[in-house]
């Protein structure tokens, strides 16, 4: 077990800087997920922790130790790769034990460790097969086995599930979570799948262009995004985000969206200047079709035209035109409204997010 601390880390390839002074403290036993769009530097960061990539500036500590100049094999880490990186010419047993054999561990100890890992991952019957004779999920389990037998202080995962189909991905997600409970270690996990991030992480780190945008518990990022990028990145379907202007109306602060829509601001927005330009964010689950039952106390009601209905079973997504603006909303799955009809919607304005128009930072 070990903490990982990343202090003012820079990375450049030639003249191009791709990580710009990144700070991150990862506690013992913590499951941290790095997430961000393609090319934002997640893999680079992970590979610097692993020692596969030089650190241009700053320090990385694993436990008490600065590891900047420590070889990967001596960092007490193990890594699981996206394409599994199983040696095709070796059996599962040989793949899992490869590092142990390279370290010249006695044979009985190698066998004991492999057996233990195989038990944890349910690979007992596959030890004599070659990787080409395994399914995608089995391959990924083998590559986790290879990581487990190293008894690492830190597990590093680089998009381990992105080659699997949806069902298998869900299953493996659960297995990784169980694994974290069984072999208590620090995990740094890279993904671009936000559901993976939300379900697995103790804390999520959202990156963009080599900068950290926000670090926090999944719920924190979801409910209190610091800026429009985080707000748009976390949550599916995406948060509705619309530019507007603060305007007082009948002596109360309102938000004008386009020509026709005037929405009362919650107390949080009371301090906005008249005419201040902001971006309003509201999640689809806070734009709900009113269907008979009484809307919540803080709801604000408005009619909207339903343009598209996307049934998901338990609920349906609705693409709406509300006061001249396009929104995504929801309704319960049994309601089945028809496209082209008009209905009343309740907007839960207490959960509204406000961002500054220029800086795109949240306004509190």
């Amino acid at each position: 077990m070990a903490s990982v601390s990343i202090r003012k880390v820079y990375k450049s390839y030639g003249k191009v800087q791709v990580i710009h002074g990144l700070d991150l403290e990862i506690a013992h036993n913590e499951f941290v997920v790095l997430i961000g769009p393609s090319g934002c530097g997640k893999s680079t960061m992970l590979r610097m922790i692993a020692g596969l990539e030089d650190i241009t500036g700053g320090e990385i500590h694993i436990g008490e130790r600065v590891v900047n100049n420590v070889e990967p094999k001596n960092r007490n880490i193990a890594m699981v790769f996206q394409n599994y990186a199983l040696y095709p010419h070796m059996t599962v047993f040989k793949n899992i034990s490869f590092g142990l054999r390279a370290a010249k561990l006695p044979k009985h100890e190698v066998e004991k460790k492999v057996a233990e890992a195989a038990r944890i991952l349910g690979l007992e019957d596959l030890l004599l097969r070659r990787p080409s004779e395994l399914s995608g999920g089995q391959r990924q389990r083998v590559s986790m086995g290879r990581a487990i037998v190293r008894d690492p202080q830190v597990f590093l995962f680089d998009e381990p599930l992105s080659n699997l189909d949806a069902t298998l991905r869900h299953q493996m997600r659960t297995e990784i979570k169980l694994l974290h409970q069984k072999v208590a270690t620090t995990i740094v996990y890279v993904t671009h799948d936000q559901i993976e991030a939300m379900t697995l992480a103790d804390r999520i780190v959202i990156m963009r262009d080599g900068h950290i945008q926000q670090v926090g518990k999944p719920g924190e990022l979801y409910h209190n995004p610091k800026n429009t990028f985080v707000a748009g990145f976390i949550g599916s379907p995406k948060m509705n985000m619309l530019p507007g202007e603060a305007r007082s109306h009948n002596g109360a602060p309102h938000l004008a969206l386009g020509e026709d829509l005037l929405i009362p601001l919650p107390d949080r927005g009371a301090h906005l200047r008249e005419g201040q330009r902001v971006i309003m964010g509201i999640r689809p689950e806070d734009v709900v079709m009113v269907n008979g039952q009484a809307p919540g106390a803080n709801s604000w009601l408005h009619d909207a035209r339903i343009n598209v209905v996307e049934p998901l079973g338990s609920e349906s997504l609705l693409i709406l035109e509300l006061g001249g603006q396009s929104f995504t909303g929801k309704c319960a799955g049994r309601i089945e409204p028809a496209a082209g009809t008009t209905a009343q919607f309740a907007l839960n304005l207490e959960n509204m997010h406000l961002f500054d128009h220029e800086s795109e930072q949240a306004i509190n």
């Binding site: 020692g51 596969l52 094999k73 890594m79 394409n83 990186a85 040696y87 095709p88 010419h89």
Partner: protein, 290 residues
């Protein structure tokens, strides 16, 4: 068969049984293949049959010798230095092949998987050697060998072929297709760079190694010009150089040449069978999933 099954999904088993076993298209295909195959092996058969003929029969184009005889083989091994040449060829082809496999793949790997200053320059320099024909190199090689005292020695015969630009290029291309993750995984597993090359990367390019081995072995086995120039003593001749001696100004001992050629084919055949298995297995093994 599977293609048929798709094309006619409704035919049941009984229908398939009643179908004629030899359909015209199949017959045609097999005939063409057989004729092609025969054309390929015909020279080989002639070679073997000539080696079993007496001298007075060799200009008859019969496939079967009238009086088959082992006398040519006896003569070749007892009266000429053929056995010595055979061993020379074997030693030279084997050493150069092993050397080429080792060095070319080492350099190819380095060029494919490491970034260093001057990498492109080194690569282009190696590539450019491919554009120089052997004939142009013979004189420099000869002068070099003369000055360094390598004339008329095994080393003298072998040194130009111990590494090849072609092999380096080939191996570089193949190593480039080996995913970096394999190497990184091995780095984390604690292997040093040399071990990674030998234990992880090399097994992954076995098909290329096999192809290169066949190519280089055959090239050296049949090499003629340079061995002829660099050797003077008969004891250092390779098979092709020795054969040249059978072919005199006025007469050519075809039956002896054919006998020698028959024997000389055996190792190449062996090498081919050996490595062909490798190539096929290698292709199957490289079940890389991206």
């Amino acid at each position: 068969m599977s293609a048929e099954a798709i094309a006619t999904p409704l035919t049941d088993a009984s229908d398939r049984l009643s179908r004629p076993l030899l359909r015209p298209s199949k017959v045609l295909m097999w005939s063409v293949l057989m004729v092609g195959g025969l054309l390929m092996v015909l020279p080989f058969i002639f070679m073997v049959s000539t080696s079993l003929k007496f001298n007075n029969e060799i200009y008859e184009l019969s496939l079967l010798p009238k009086e088959p005889t082992w006398s040519n083989y006896q003569f070749l091994f007892e009266e000429t230095r053929f056995f010595r040449w055979f061993v020379n060829s074997l030693i030279i082809a084997t050493i150069t092949t092993v050397s080429v496999l080792f060095f070319d793949s080492l350099v190819g790997y380095t060029l494919a998987k490491f970034k260093f200053r001057g990498r492109i320059f080194v690569f282009v320099a190696i590539l450019s050697t491919l554009m120089i024909p052997t004939e142009m190199l013979i004189i420099p090689w000869f002068l070099l060998s003369r000055d360094l005292g390598w004339l008329d020695s095994y080393w003298g015969i072998m040194f130009p072929g111990m590494m090849t630009g072609f092999g380096t290029f080939l191996m570089k291309q193949f190593f480039e297709s080996v995913p970096d993750d394999f190497l990184d995984a091995a780095r984390i597993d604690g292997l040093n760079e040399f071990q990674i090359w030998w234990e992880v990367a090399m097994p992954l390019v076995k098909p290329a190694l096999a192809a290169l081995a066949i190519f280089i072995f055959l090239g050296n086995w049949t090499a003629f010009l340079w061995p002829l120039i660099v050797t003077t003593s008969e004891d250092l001749y390779t098979i092709p150089v020795g054969f040249a001696a059978f072919s005199g100004e006025f007469t050519t001992d075809w039956e002896l040449i054919m006998t020698g050629a028959t024997v000389a084919t055996l190792p190449t055949l062996l090498i081919f069978i050996m490595f062909q298995k490798f190539i096929i297995r290698g292709v199957m093994l490289t079940g890389l999933k991206g």
